[in-house]
Structures are given as structure tokens and as C-alpha cells.
């Protein structure tokens, strides 16, 4: 049952759906970082150092892109067990990333930099809102990873159809790159 779409040799519609969706996520963060720049140019802006854990988190998420890619590779080769293994490792790295981000927030507050509340400066609030929204996107990715992971266990849904894992991996690399952008922005530009 060859589908009309595949015979036309185009991008799969659901991939297209995802790509455009990523575009809209980009716009959301572009909105936030533009607001950040506008706000920074006005009075009352607090300058502070990013906590070191954010660097570690960056390394972790980079690593997870690598394991993600390995998972796709194994899926395409039809190697079930390594495939699932890499998926799990990627998800774990994702959770580790989120935990490290959380520690970053804690470290800031320990330094007496309020993220929200009456004492907060919008410099810290921006950092918090932006990273927190990114964290939610990572969480979405982790959930998707588990989804694919468990779907792959059911017999009829094995490696034949690599579309779901390809979609997840595209998304995963995207949130990784997005973080790199945000990190560079917060650390050096903003």
C-alpha cells in the first residue's frame, strides 16, 4: 500500500508539520529575547553572572543530541535493543538537564537574586521565564521519547516505521540548538 505521498518523494507531511511548528517555537523565543533586549536598554537592570551549573547543563544536552542520533541510527539498522537503550539514555540525559537547570535557579536564589516576587529584578525574571519555558519544551521532548520507547515494545510497531523516532529526534536536536542559542544569548549577548 504505497501512499501517494511517498511516491511523490516529498517530505512527509508530518515532518513538514513539525518543521513549521519549530518555526513558531522560534518566534516565541524570539519574542522573549527581543523583549529582553528592549527591557535591558531601559533603566533598572541588574547585571549578574550565570551560575556555573548552566555550563554543565549545556554539556549534558549536547551529549543527549549525540545519543539521540545514535538511537535513530540503530532504529534504521533495525537493531531493537541498542535502539531502545539509546532512547532511554537520551531521556535520562534530558531529565538530568532539567535537574541541573533547576539547580541553576536555586543557585541564583542562594545568591540573593530573586527570580520572581516583589524583590525581583526583571533581569533575573527574564532569565527565569526564558529558561523555564525552554525547560518545558525539554520536558515535552522527554515525554515524547518515552512515548516512542514504549511504542517500540509492541510487536507491530517495531523498526519498520522510523518516522516517529525521526520526528522526536528532530525535535530533540531543535531544543538542544535552542538552548545553545539561549545560553549564548544570556551569557554573552543579553
Amino acid at each position: 500500500m504505497a501512499t501517494e505521498v511517498k511516491t511523490k518523494n516529498k517530505i512527509h507531511p508530518q515532518k513538514m508539520y513539525l518543521y513549521v511548528g519549530l518555526g513558531s517555537i522560534v518566534m516565541m523565543f524570539a519574542g522573549l529575547t527581543s523583549a529582553y533586549i528592549v527591557k535591558k536598554s531601559q533603566s533598572n537592570w541588574l547585571d549578574f553572572e550565570l551560575p556555573k551549573v548552566f555550563f554543565i547543563a549545556t554539556v549534558v544536552i549536547l551529549l543527549s543530541s549525540f545519543t539521540m542520533q545514535m538511537a535513530v541510527k540503530k532504529a534504521k539498522e533495525g537493531l531493537q535493543n541498542p535502539y531502545r537503550g539509546f532512547l532511554t539514555v537520551t531521556a535520562i540525559l534530558g531529565v538530568a538537564f532539567m535537574t541541573l537547570q533547576y539547580q541553576g535557579f536555586m543557585a541564583l536564589q542562594a545568591n540573593n537574586i530573586a527570580l520572581t516576587g516583589a524583590r525581583s529584578n526583571s533581569a533575573a525574571s527574564f532569565l527565569f521565564v526564558i529558561t523555564f519555558l525552554h525547560l518545558l519544551h525539554v520536558l515535552g521532548g522527554v515525554i515524547a521519547l518515552f512515548g516512542v520507547r514504549f511504542k517500540s515494545l509492541s510487536a507491530k510497531n517495531n523498526t519498520e516505521n522510523t518516522l516517529p523516532v525521526e520526528l522526536v529526534s528532530t525535535y530533540w536536536h531543535f531544543v538542544d540548538i535552542l538552548w545553545i542559542y539561549l545560553f549564548v544569548f544570556l551569557q554573552w549577548i543579553g
Binding site: V5, Q14, Y17, V20, A35, W45, V129, N161
Partner: protein
């Protein structure tokens, strides 16, 4: 054998165009067919009917506040019986007035003219006109409707809370939107407003992504991009605008949520607010919200307008029995409008203390919109020129659209000049401008679409005579309501005032305001007539007996009269030409599915 049964017979061995879309609709229950349907045509009808409910509610709200503006001294005891404490003694309270104006604006802009318009026609027409069995992701499409539905319920519930719905204007500027204590509507009403709008944004995104993916990737054989009907192109740019601008509104709303609930200072600073006192916030900027809002807000007005433009182009060509004049120019101007839509948002902010040099850049970019707009108008008029015009109700509404677009576009050029706008801003001139060019014009586009595609949606016709009454009264009414508002605005009458009779300078308008209010009620009543026509005709209208009642070229008319899920019983037809071969080589019309003949003149 009914067409649907025929369709289902085929499904066993027909591919669907995409794989996650199994054959589960063999045993449709009421729930899967009418409620949790994944068929784009049913989802379109869900959007349409929900949009209609909102149009009635939103319209009713405008009747109520026009009552206040037209009869500021009168009291209507029946008002108290429907609005209760919001109309003590039969007179609308100021709080209720602002709540009504705000909800009217929000609902008409987002729920009626965005969800009701794009949601209906993008869903209905995209798969049918590009030749696809359904959307790229029918499931996400269904979710898109249910997010909209939930947003609707939440917005509706805000009408019933103790402190009333949000009342700070559809633009939701802080501090009214950011401070719980700034006004009654800023309390629970605003919380519900934000939640509702956030869900609405998700709905628009889920829908928009589908529209784009379907148009780009699921066209049938032979349907190159330049053979797409202009409806599809317009819906495509609409979706692109939505997908790129709604997320920015979401960002703005998220920051607003933090300011409201978590004590941050994005928009709030140490201002003094009446009834609240001095705020403890520091350094926030309310203007920041305006930037984020209008970065969506301006594209949003084109999200509302473009689908109407697309449908008008298509309907006009069909009913003039002539090719659309300047297809590529139409496309180019859609593209230019879409690009410019992102570059002009600050024309809503000329009086915010914007740097005048920066302002002048926005003036220039804003006035540039007149160029593609004029091209489109020119092309519509030349399409009509010497056409063999069939004045169906759909066609009349399409022509009415052009008239309104010209009238409202011209006043846009006034407002686009910062020097004039500083005087006209926040006056009735602006109200007149945007109601004519966006509100009424897009409504006309929507009506044109409903009259034209009703036979495809329901297999029956709308009643024509009622259609003509509907058209003429609405057209005359729209001009009678909004034309005088230009003069009021020029005379300095500000928008969003509750009672003009207490202002010496505006007393002269008492009669005029009463006149406008009276016409508004008549026009509202005529819309009820349309609704009666609509619902009556769904069940009792004259039946469609031919596949292609308008003798149109596009693909939707090659499907069975009542197409099932999957649209075409057999294979999806192949396309051999553009959709505008009307009056060509002695043929009145040549459908897109007709192969190019040997001795045919130039084809597209």
C-alpha cells in the same frame, strides 16, 4: 447506494494519502461522526457553527452598548432583568459597558473572524481544493477545534463570574490587565481571559501548522503551486502569519501571567494606581506589552482579512465567468502584504512616546501597504470589467467586500501618517476605520464564502431572496453605522467613553448616536434572518442535484454532492491546468481536471 457507502467500499483498497489515518470510520457512531470527528469537513462545520454562536453573542453585546451610547439617559427595565446588577435601574453600569466592549472586541476578532473564518474555510477548502483526502494530521486538526471549544467555554464562563469579565479593552494593556485590583474585570475575569486566549493560541497553531503542511505536501498530481486557487494561497499566507505571530502574543501573555501572579516587574513599575496605591514594582514597562501585543495584533488583522480576500477572488472569477485578472500579481501582493504585516506594528503606538525618527520608518512601511492593496483592488475591478456577471448572493457579498475594503483602506492611509494619527488616535475615526476594513469587510468575505460553498457543505442551497435582503440591508447598514463615525472622530470624539451626553463638545452628536444605534439594531436583526436561512436550509433547503452548480473549475466540485470522509470515492483526480479557465477558446469554463486539448491556446 449512497455516496458515502460507495466511498467506504473503496476505502478498503484505496490509500489515504497518509498513513496514520486508518479505516476506523467504517462504523461511525454519532460521537465519531459529529463530535470527535477527524474529517476536515465536519471540523470546518464545527468551527463555523461555534463561530456563529459567538457572532450572535458578540453582536448582541454591541447592541447592548450601542443602547447606552444612543440613549444615555433612558432606562430599560428589561435590561435589569437580563443583566441583573450590571444594569441597575435599567441602565448599563460603566463597568458593564467596558466589559461588554472588551468581550465584544475579543470575541469578534479572535473567535469569529479568526477561528470562525480561517477555521471554517481553511479546513473545508484546503483538502478539497488541493486534492487531498484530509489534512496532514487529522488528529491535530481535531485537537485544534477542541482547544478552540475549551477556550470558548472559558471565555463564556467569564461572563458569569461575580466581578465580571475582563474590561480593559481587547488589547489587554497593562496595568489594567496586570493588576488584580485595577478594576473589577481585572480580577477573575482577566484570569479567565488569559487562559482562554492561551488555549486559543494553541488552537490556532495546531490548525495553522496543518494548513501549511497540507498545502505544501499533499497536493494532488499536477497541482503545482501556481495552479492553486487564490483561496488556498490566501489561506496559506494567513496560516504563515498566524504561526509566526501568535507565539509572540503567547510570550507577551506569559510575561503578563508572571506580573499578575508572581510579583515580577515586566510591565509594572512604581506607578500610583487609583484605588490600589503606589505599586512596589520597579522598572517595568507597559509599552513593552504593546510591542509584543501589536507584533501579533497587526498581523492578526491580516489573518482576518486574507481569507476573505482569497475567497472573494475565487467567487468573483467564477461569477464573472472570467479568469481572475493578474493571478501572479494577486499572489505577489498577498506575499507583500504578509511580509509588510510584520514590519508595521508600531503604527498602533505613535502616541506612546515612540522616537519620531523610528516612527517615520513605520509611517513609510505602513503607507507601503497601500501598494499591494491597490493592486488587489485594481485586479478585482478588472475581473468584474465586462464580465458576464451572475449576481448570486455570494457574488454580491464579494463585490460588497471590495467596496468596504476600498473605503476602509483609504482611511488607513490617513492613520498611517503619524502626524494625523496623533490627532486621530483613540478616536471614533479609528473605530470607523477598522470596523469597515476589517470587521465588516471580513464578515462580507465570510458571508460570500458561506453562500458560495453552502451547497458543497450541506448538499442544499440557501434561500436566494433572503440572501438578497441580507446583503442589501447589511451593506447599507454598515455604511450608515460606520461612515458617520469618521466625522465624530474628526470632531475629536474619543473611543471607549461611556457617556458622551455629559460633554459639551459632543452633545451635538446625540441624535447621530441615536441614529447609529438604531441602524445597528436593524442590522443585527437582519443577521438573525441569515441564521434562520442557514439553519432552515441545512434541513429543508432546495437540494443540490448537480455536481457543479456554479459551473466552477476547482476540484471541490468534482467530489460527490455529499462527499464522505476521504472526499473522492475513487482516485483523487489529476490536475491539468490552473483554476481560472473561464471563457476560454469558446468554452464557458474548463475544470482543472480537463486535460489540455491539442489546439488550445496558451495554458497555465
Amino acid at each position: 447506494m449512497s455516496h458515502e457507502a460507495a466511498l467506504h467500499n473503496h476505502e478498503g483498497h484505496e490509500s489515504h494519502g497518509h498513513d496514520d489515518h486508518g479505516h476506523h470510520e467504517h462504523h461511525d457512531t454519532f460521537l465519531t461522526k459529529y463530535v470527535f470527528s477527524q474529517d476536515h469537513k465536519m471540523i470546518a462545520k464545527q468551527f463555523l457553527i461555534t463561530g456563529m454562536v459567538w457572532a450572535v453573542l458578540g453582536g448582541l453585546m454591541s447592541v447592548l452598548f450601542r443602547l447606552q451610547l444612543g440613549y444615555p439617559d433612558a432606562s430599560f427595565p428589561w435590561l435589569e432583568s437580563i443583566l441583573g446588577k450590571w444594569a441597575k435601574g435599567g441602565q448599563i453600569t460603566p463597568e458593564a459597558y467596558y466589559a461588554l466592549v472588551t468581550t465584544h472586541g475579543t470575541v469578534l476578532v479572535f473567535f469569529v473572524l479568526t477561528a470562525g473564518l480561517s477555521g471554517t474555510f481553511a479546513n473545508f477548502l484546503i483538502p478539497l481544493q488541493v486534492g487531498a483526502r484530509d489534512m496532514a494530521s487529522p488528529f491535530m486538526n481535531m485537537l485544534s477545534y477542541w482547544f478552540f471549544f475549551t477556550a470558548s467555554i472559558i471565555m463564556l464562563s467569564s461572563l458569569f463570574v461575580e466581578t465580571g469579565p475582563f474590561s480593559g479593552g481587547w488589547t489587554a494593556y497593562p496595568p489594567l490587565s496586570a493588576l488584580h485590583d485595577a478594576s473589577p474585570g481585572s480580577k477573575t475575569g482577566m484570569d479567565l481571559w488569559i487562559i482562554s486566549m492561551a488555549l486559543f493560541v494553541v488552537s490556532s497553531l495546531l490548525g495553522g501548522l496543518n494548513y501549511i503542511a497540507t498545502i505544501l505536501n499533499m497536493r494532488t498530481k499536477g497541482m503545482s503551486m501556481t495552479r492553486l486557487p487564490l483561496t488556498i494561497w490566501a489561506l496559506f499566507f494567513t496560516a504563515v502569519l498566524g504561526v509566526l505571530s501568535f507565539p509572540v502574543l503567547l510570550s507577551g501573555l506569559i510575561l503578563l501571567i508572571f506580573d499578575r501572579n508572581f510579583g515580577t516587574s515586566f510591565y509594572l513599575s512604581d506607578i500610583y494606581v487609583n484605588g490600589v496605591g503606589a505599586l512596589s514594582n520597579e522598572g517595568g514597562s507597559a509599552i513593552l506589552f504593546q510591542h509584543l501585543f501589536w507584533f501579533l495584533g497587526h498581523p492578526e488583522v491580516y489573518i482576518i482579512l486574507l481569507p476573505a480576500m482569497g475567497m472573494v477572488s475565487e467567487i468573483m472569477s467564477v461569477n464573472s465567468r472570467k479568469p481572475i485578472f493578474g493571478y501572479m500579481a494577486m499572489l505577489g501582493s498577498l506575499f507583500a502584504i504578509a511580509i509588510l504585516a510584520f514590519l508595521v506594528w508600531a503604527h498602533h503606538m505613535f502616541v506612546t512616546g515612540l522616537n519620531p525618527f523610528l516612527g517615520s520608518v513605520f509611517v513609510l512601511l505602513t503607507l507601503l501597504i497601500a501598494v499591494p492593496s491597490a493592486i488587489k483592488v485594481f485586479n478585482w475591478l478588472t475581473t468584474l470589467w465586462r464580465g458576464n456577471i451572475r449576481f448570486t448572493p455570494g457574488m454580491l457579498f464579494a463585490i460588497g467586500f471590495v467596496s468596504l475594503f476600498i473605503s476602509g483602506g483609504l482611511t488607513g492611509i490617513w492613520l498611517g501618517n503619524a502626524a494625523l494619527d496623533i490627532y486621530l488616535h483613540d478616536s471614533y475615526f479609528v473605530v470607523a476605520h477598522f470596523h469597515i476594513v476589517m470587521g465588516v469587510a471580513s464578515m462580507f468575505g465570510m458571508f460570500a464564502g458561506v453562500y458560495h460553498w453552502f451547497p458543497k457543505m450541506y448538499g442544499r442551497y440557501l434561500n436566494n431572496s433572503l440572501g438578497y435582503i441580507h446583503f442589501w440591508i447589511t451593506l447599507a447598514g454598515a455604511y450608515l453605522i460606520f461612515w458617520p463615525m469618521h466625522y465624530q472622530g474628526l470632531a475629536g470624539m474619543p473611543r471607549r467613553y461611556f457617556d458622551f451626553s455629559i460633554w459639551e463638545s459632543f452633545k451635538q452628536f446625540a441624535d447621530l448616536n441615536r441614529f447609529i444605534s438604531t441602524v445597528a439594531m436593524i442590522v443585527f436583526a437582519v443577521q438573525i434572518l441569515f441564521l434562520i436561512n442557514f439553519f432552515y436550509s441545512i434541513f429543508k433547503g432546495r437540494k443540490v442535484t448537480v455536481l457543479n452548480p456554479w459551473e466552477s473549475n476547482t476540484l471541490e466540485w468534482t467530489t460527490p454532492i455529499n462527499p464522505g470522509h476521504g472526499n473522492w470515492p475513487g482516485e483523487i483526480p489529476e490536475v491539468h491546468r490552473w483554476p481560472y479557465d473561464y471563457g476560454k477558446d469558446g468554452h464557458d469554463f474548463i475544470p482543472q481536471t480537463t486535460p489540455v486539448g491539442e489546439d488550445e491556446t496558451e495554458t497555465h
